[in-house]
């Protein structure tokens, strides 16, 4: 594995991919995209790293135990927003109660659940990749 060009190009590309993933995540209300797409783009950056630099270094960046935690955390965050709105006296996932008025509450709620979607999707995609690619190890 001495592909100099691949290594240099991917080192330049990976930060940009992660930045773009964050942009898609937090700009999903205004442009195309959202949590799902952002999660996939984010995991693509890590997968590119693993393809070029090897599986072990990539697993060092995000250890499996943290991935398992994050995958559940995203779903819990999403479902938790629903329970918070119930505790505030509304219906499940009634975001309007999270802010001072309907629109600001909606923005907070959508931001939080999109974050939950992004975290779960990114970590599940990485779990897929590490599980599949990890089988080939001697």
């Amino acid at each position: 594995m001495h592909n100099l060009i691949l290594r240099v190009v991917s080192k330049v590309l990976i930060p940009l991919i992660i930045l773009f993933g964050l942009y898609v995540q937090f700009h999903g209300e205004f442009g195309p995209g959202g949590g799902f797409q952002a999660g996939v783009i984010f995991s693509a950056a890590i997968i590119l790293y693993a393809l070029v630099f090897g599986l072990e270094p990539a697993e060092k960046i995000i250890p499996k135990s943290i991935l398992h935690l994050l995958a559940s955390f995203g779903l819990v965050l999403y479902a938790g927003v629903g329970f918070v709105t119930i505790m505030l006296g509304g219906n499940y996932l009634e975001y309007g109660l999270l802010g001072s008025d309907q629109v600001s509450g909606q923005l907070i709620g959508i931001l939080l659940i999109e974050l939950g979607v992004g975290i779960t999707v990114a970590s599940v995609m990485l779990i897929f990749f590490f599980s599949f690619a990890g089988r080939g190890r001697p």
């Binding site: 996939v40 693509a44 999403y78 629109v103 909606q106 959508i110 659940i113 599949f132 690619a133 089988r135």
Partner: protein, 191 residues
């Protein structure tokens, strides 16, 4: 006019890729063609103004699933064996042709693309178009529908993704068979 030209070109490429995939036996090349197929579909979605769907198709179809299939290929052979057909292909061909003809017949009743008077467009869509900005303050209507109006559905989708991750972990995440056998042998010796 230019739309039709792009559509026809993309569809022609799609059909060519599909035929090439069906005829090839080199699995590595087929996986690469799968990626190209997804990228072409993403292009088609962009032409249809479905940027969000195109995004997903390009990232998941052309990106992640190609890598996953390559990872699977690394565990198996990269060549499909050509075996002589054990049966006559006429019956399957007939079934496929009749089903395809029925589907084409079915599309005749589907309203034309982008028809504002089509039933799906006159049900709840006008409400979303008129009210989503006032209700949610989110300019991207797709996000407003996915995250707010259809929040329950999206929660279910995330649960599906999570469940898929758990399933993969159960099936593939554990120790490899050889190691487990050694451990079991060790356990038996202890017992």
């Amino acid at each position: 006019m230019i739309d039709i030209l792009i559509n026809v070109t993309l569809l022609a490429f799609l059909a060519t890729t599909a035929v090439a995939m069906a005829r090839m036996t080199n699995l590595f090349a087929i996986i690469m063609l799968f990626g190209i197929f997804s990228l072409l579909s993403a292009g088609l979605f962009v032409v249809m103004d479905a940027a969000d769907v195109a995004f997903t198709e390009a990232a998941v179809g052309a990106g992640i699933s190609t890598v996953l299939m390559l990872a699977t290929l690394a565990l198996t052979k990269d060549h499909q064996e050509k075996r002589p057909l054990g049966h006559r292909p006429w019956l399957p061909l007939g079934v496929v042709t009749i089903t395809g003809a029925a589907l084409v017949y079915g599309t005749m009743d589907i309203s034309s693309f982008g028809d504002p008077l089509a039933p799906p467009q006159t049900h709840v869509a006008p409400y979303y178009i008129e009210q989503s900005m006032a209700d949610t303050g989110v300019p991207n209507m797709v996000t407003a529908v996915l995250a707010s109006y259809r929040g329950f559905d999206t929660l279910g989708e995330v649960a599906v993704v999570f469940t898929a991750g758990v399933a993969v972990l159960i099936l593939l995440g554990g120790r490899r068979k050889k190691q487990r056998l050694e451990i079991e042998e060790g356990g038996n010796r202890d017992a």
